[in-house]
């Protein structure tokens, strides 16, 4: 267990350090630009330097450090735990109101507030105090612009949290090619700065509207508490607000906040997704095999990614896989890798199959409901439970055995359980209840597809290792297992294709999330490419490989290059 999170936390710390460095650089740049004075360049530089080594800057760096650590904590929370499985509207709704989210909301609002105040103090504007000396009379008056800005800061922080974490699932996306960190930062910074100013427009607009309607309430509260009164024209008036120009200030600071937060996010992404080299055999370090075994965990991702890179580019480690263990002569490295990668592929395949069979059962039910006179379709769900559904071949003895086994298990307890499940399911079918408590198949599918990345890498990795084995594998370690690999890949391909077959899926199940749709095409394309890679490489010898008749049939279009 220690190993599992060690890599992740190590990277988080690294990311925080990178982030602080980057944020300090950005803040320095800001100070430098704000104090621009072309006529007196010397005083410009000296005043900038003074500011940079002042306590404000130090405080800023400390705050940014705190924020980074806090962000790291959140990332840790989101990425180390497997994706939660909330598939009903009700549970998704409940999931929003966890204490964790409430605390985060509060923290993010504070984060926005502090960041805004710090940046405004760096910019030498006087918005961090609510009071000011009255101009017309003695005593202290309310500085409404500060109030506007500080409330705005909180709102921006809140808005960011809501849009980035609550309404959108945070998924760690691994880039398809990994450039050197510094290059990536360079690319990201220009992008983040450009989009920061755009992205902040919307929340600032919302806030201005909010302040127009309800701005008088916080104002009166603050004036009451400090017992100060307003001297300037109130800001919840469109003309006054426009004239004061404070909205430009808010927009500017909000943009800075977005730039800082997005830069932080980008830095975390860059540092966390760096490919890691695992050793094949090792007593001390984590091996590739055990990394792969941690499926959807972060280390599992890194393992799958490294498996692909190894298979494609790293000849020396490939050779290590193809060797036999010294006493015994077993291909231990290969067996371990194969076992773990097959588990990853099969598990994903099974999840898809579960979804497919769900929809099939529904479909059959619907049909039988609609025309009771007709016989229900012959194909029983058991027919689909085999690894392959082949229309052409006769039912095999294995399937018949399965049916018999199922019949034997049909005891009383099982019957009761079934009845209860049926009852629950029927209850869930009721319109109102179904809306809240019915399982959302598309959401389920979406969650499955979000985890498709390691499966893709594993498929590609397997295909490449197998393809290289033709030349590099002296002992024929890999070729023994060719039938299992091919049938696992074919099975996955067929399950994926069933997802998109028209007529099989009820309409509501059609995905409308672009990321999930793309993931689906991506994994289908990867699986097909992997099968092509194996089949084309072994095309001369494919008839010598003892394949199942179903698999043999399924690879025919790949052999003649006709599989789209």
């Amino acid at each position: 267990m220690g190993d599992k999170n060690e890599i992740f936390s190590e990277r988080l710390v690294k990311a925080v350090i990178w982030d602080i460095a980057l944020q300090t650089f950005l803040a320095t740049l800001l100070v430098f630009i704000i104090q621009i004075d072309v006529i007196h360049p010397l005083s410009w530089i000296t005043s900038t330097l003074e500011d940079i080594i002042s306590w404000k800057m130090l405080l800023n760096v400390i705050l940014l450090g705190l924020v980074s650590f806090f962000q790291a904590y959140i990332y840790g929370k989101y990425y180390t735990s497997p994706v939660p499985k909330y598939f009903t509207r009700f549970s998704m709704f409940l999931n929003i109101y966890t204490t964790q989210n409430l605390v985060f909301t509060l923290l993010y609002a504070l984060n926005g507030y502090f960041t805004l105040i710090l940046y405004s103090s760096l910019a030498k504007s006087n918005f961090n105090v609510l009071k000011k000396m009255c101009e017309d009379s003695d005593g202290q008056c309310l500085n409404e612009q500060s109030l506007f800005l500080q409330l705005g800061g909180m709102w921006i922080g809140l808005f960011y949290f809501l849009s980035a974490h609550i309404f959108n699932k945070t998924v760690l996306t691994f880039p398809h090619i990994y450039q050197d960190k510094f290059q990536q930062m360079k690319l990201v910074i220009t992008n983040v700065v450009a989009t920061g100013f755009q992205r902040s427009m919307k929340p600032v607009g919302y806030f201005c509207v909010f302040y127009y309607f309800w701005g008088n309430k916080p104002r009166s509260v603050v004036s009451d508490v400090y017992s100060i009164y307003l001297e300037d024209p109130p800001l919840d008036n469109i003309i006054n607000m426009l004239r004061s120009g404070i909205w430009i200030g808010l927009w500017f600071y909000a943009s800075l906040f977005f730039i800082s937060v997005n830069a932080m996010r980008a830095v975390f992404n860059i540092v966390l997704t760096e490919p890691m080299v695992f050793s094949i055999e090792s007593d001390k370090n984590l091996t590739l095999c055990s990394a792969l075994a941690q499926k959807s965990q972060f280390t599992g991702f890194l393992g799958a990614q490294d498996f692909r890179i190894l298979a494609m580019t790293d000849q020396s480690r490939r050779l290590q896989i193809f060797t036999l263990s010294q006493p015994g002569g077993h291909p231990r490295n290969w067996n371990g890798l194969l076992e773990n990668s097959l588990i990853i592929i099969k598990e994903f395949s099974n999840q898809l199959e579960a979804i497919n069979s769900d929809s099939n059962v529904n479909g059959i039910k619907d049909v039988s409901k609609r025309n009771l006179l007709n016989e229900s379709p012959k194909s029983s769900p058991i027919g689909y439970s085999g690894s392959l559904r082949n229309m052409a071949s006769y039912p095999q003895a294995l399937d018949i055995k399965n049916i018999q086994e199922n019949r034997e298990e049909n005891t009383f307890v099982v019957g009761i359980k079934k009845e209860f499940n049926n009852f629950v399911q029927r209850l869930c079918q009721k319109p109102g209840i179904n809306y809240f408590f019915g399982e959302l198949t598309d959401t389920k599918l979406k969650f499955i597809l979000l985890q498709a990345q390691p499966v893709m890498w594993t498929c590609e990795g397997l295909a490449h290792i197998v393809a290289y084995s033709l030349k590099e594998d002296k002992y024929g370690v890999v070729q023994n297992d060719l039938p299992i690999i091919l049938s696992a890949l074919i099975n996955l391909k067929q399950n994926l294709e069933k997802l998109s077959k028209p007529g099989l899926i009820p309409r509501k199940q059609i995905l409308n999330d672009s990321f999930a749709i793309r993931s689906k095409t991506a994994i289908l394309s990867v699986v097909k490419r992997s099968i092509y890679k194996i089949v084309i490489t072994f095309s001369k010898y494919i008839h010598e490989i003892p394949l199942d008749p179903d698999v043999q049939l399924a690879i025919q279009p790949f052999l003649v290059c006709k599989e789209p």
């Binding site: 090619i177 450039q179 993931s519 991506a522 290059c561 789209p564």
Partner: protein, 474 residues
């Protein structure tokens, strides 16, 4: 002594070369000769002839005058111009007093807006002068196809695993000819204009990337489908602002990523096509990236810029090695076995080879070796051959190298052998057209097992397959 001395003579006046079989150069009569008399290796190859009447006319500047001018309402006119040609064109229409007679105020406003926009673009061109050319001009400037704008075949690409060829024609359609189906599919959609390059996805039967003005269009053509005109729903458009026109697309040999280059963009994009995301690869200096070539092992990428600089990227760490060509930009390059890359600079009759870049000896001052000098000479028959190189193709096995010249209309094919880190180039044969045909572009078939098969698109629209059959028995 010129290398052209060692070539067999050109076929006689009424004859043309059909193939080369085991060192025998097979020529036949232009009218009655038939390639199947010599070899049956290309019997099932698609017979292709891209004639002008096959083309659908597209709206271009030349034939726009054929249409009768209809007087539209002013607002409608502006909005349609905006929709079709962009905001700046709409502004210039609004500012034009001869068209805009209705609203003087708008005309004045538009004039000033146009002035500001012009000032911006002047400043931009001052900073990045390579952006000045507009789309088709850039493509035609960097294209390896002879007279790209007027040629009936703009570019072509063989499928890596099947006998299937995609040909981009002058009407911007892409036609797919296959050995096992008799019909031809034509891929066409509205945004597919000024096609510059084609690339089939390896380890896939259906995906074809088309580089065009707007960006990259990735078509998925089901090989089992009987539709001759797949709808544009089978196409995915990958585009990014500033990355237009695309001058080259190439899939990685593993088929996992796609690289697109644009002569006006200093970064080349590495696409994950399914997720529609791109990672730009950029380094300072060099101007726009004109084309990129993957090495056969997919370990390296050769990227040529519009200046003398070219880079060799390592695909493991994604870091480049910078090189400078002597004199002019690199016009063409091709990879062979053992990570050897051949390239030629514009206007220079020399082919250079670059191998095991930097790794072998670790020397910083390693140089590219000239391996072939093709200075222009006059043959006995009166034709000239050689001179500056326009395009170059190396067959997948690395045994034959075909050269297309800028000033000569004869294609020269060379035999290449690699012995102990040394590349030997020896003469093989010439290929010339019938009558006044000029070769437009060439490509080697990727899955020809009997040797090598060079496909040539001639200016007449005829596409010739020239097999070089080589049996071990011989």
């Amino acid at each position: 002594m010129s290398i052209f001395q060692g070539f067999p003579d050109l076929p006689g006046p009424n004859e043309t070369a059909f193939c080369k079989i085991n060192e025998v150069y097979c020529c036949g009569n232009v009218r009655h000769g038939n390639i199947s008399a010599f070899t049956n290796t290309t019997n099932h190859h698609p017979k292709i002839n891209v004639t002008r009447d096959l083309h659908h006319h597209r709206l271009s500047d030349e034939n726009i005058s054929m249409y009768i001018n209809v007087e539209d309402k002013f607002l409608k006119k502006i909005s349609s111009v905006w929709y079709n040609q962009g905001f700046l064109e709409a502004l210039s229409i609004a500012a034009d007093p001869s068209i805009n007679t209705e609203s003087k105020l708008l005309a004045v406003a538009a004039t000033y807006a146009l002035k500001v926009a012009n000032a911006f673009s002047t400043f931009r061109y001052f900073l990045q002068p390579h952006l000045k050319d507009i789309g088709p001009k850039i493509v035609s400037k960097y294209s390896r196809t002879r007279s790209w704008g007027a040629s009936s075949v703009k570019c072509m690409a063989w499928h890596p695993h099947a006998t299937k060829i995609a040909i981009a024609t002058a009407d911007d359609g892409v036609r797919i000819y296959s050995s096992d189906v008799s019909f031809v599919s034509t891929l066409k959609c509205k945004s597919q204009s000024h096609v510059s390059s084609l690339s089939w996805r390896p380890y896939s039967a259906s995906e074809l990337a088309v580089g065009c003005e707007q960006g990259v269009i990735v078509w998925t053509v089901d090989p089992n489908s009987m539709f001759t005109k797949p709808s544009s729903s089978n196409a995915v458009i990958l585009k990014r602002s500033g990355h237009s026109p695309v001058t080259d697309v190439s899939w990685s040999p593993n088929g996992d990523v796609l690289i697109s280059c644009c002569g006006a963009d200093t970064s080349m994009l590495v696409w994950d096509v399914a997720m529609e995301t791109a990672v730009p690869l950029r380094r300072v200096a060099g101007g726009g990236i004109v084309f990129a070539r993957w090495s056969l092992s997919s370990n390296k990428i050769f990227a040529a810029t519009s200046s003398i600089i070219f880079r060799v990227w390592d695909t493991k760490s994604w870091t480049p090695e910078r090189w400078c060509a002597r004199g002019c930009r690199v016009v063409t390059a091709c990879w062979g076995p053992n990570d050897v890359v051949l390239f030629a600079a514009k206007g220079e009759p020399v082919v250079y080879a670059l191998r095991n870049i930097g790794l072998l000896n670790g020397a910083k001052d390693s140089k590219a070796q000239p391996v072939l000098d093709v200075t222009k000479v006059e043959l006995v028959s009166g034709y000239t051959i050689g001179g500056p190189i326009l395009d170059m193709c190396w067959d997948p096995s690395g045994k034959y190298l075909a050269l297309l010249f800028e000033e000569s209309h004869i294609i020269a094919v060379f035999c290449t052998t690699q012995m102990m880190m040394q590349l030997n180039v020896s003469p093989c044969c010439y290929i010339s057209g019938i009558d006044n045909e000029v070769p437009s572009t060439i490509a080697f078939q990727q899955n020809f097992t009997e040797g090598a098969c060079l496909t040539i698109a001639w200016s007449s629209g005829r596409v010739q397959h020239f097999p070089i059959v080589y049996t071990d028995l011989y």
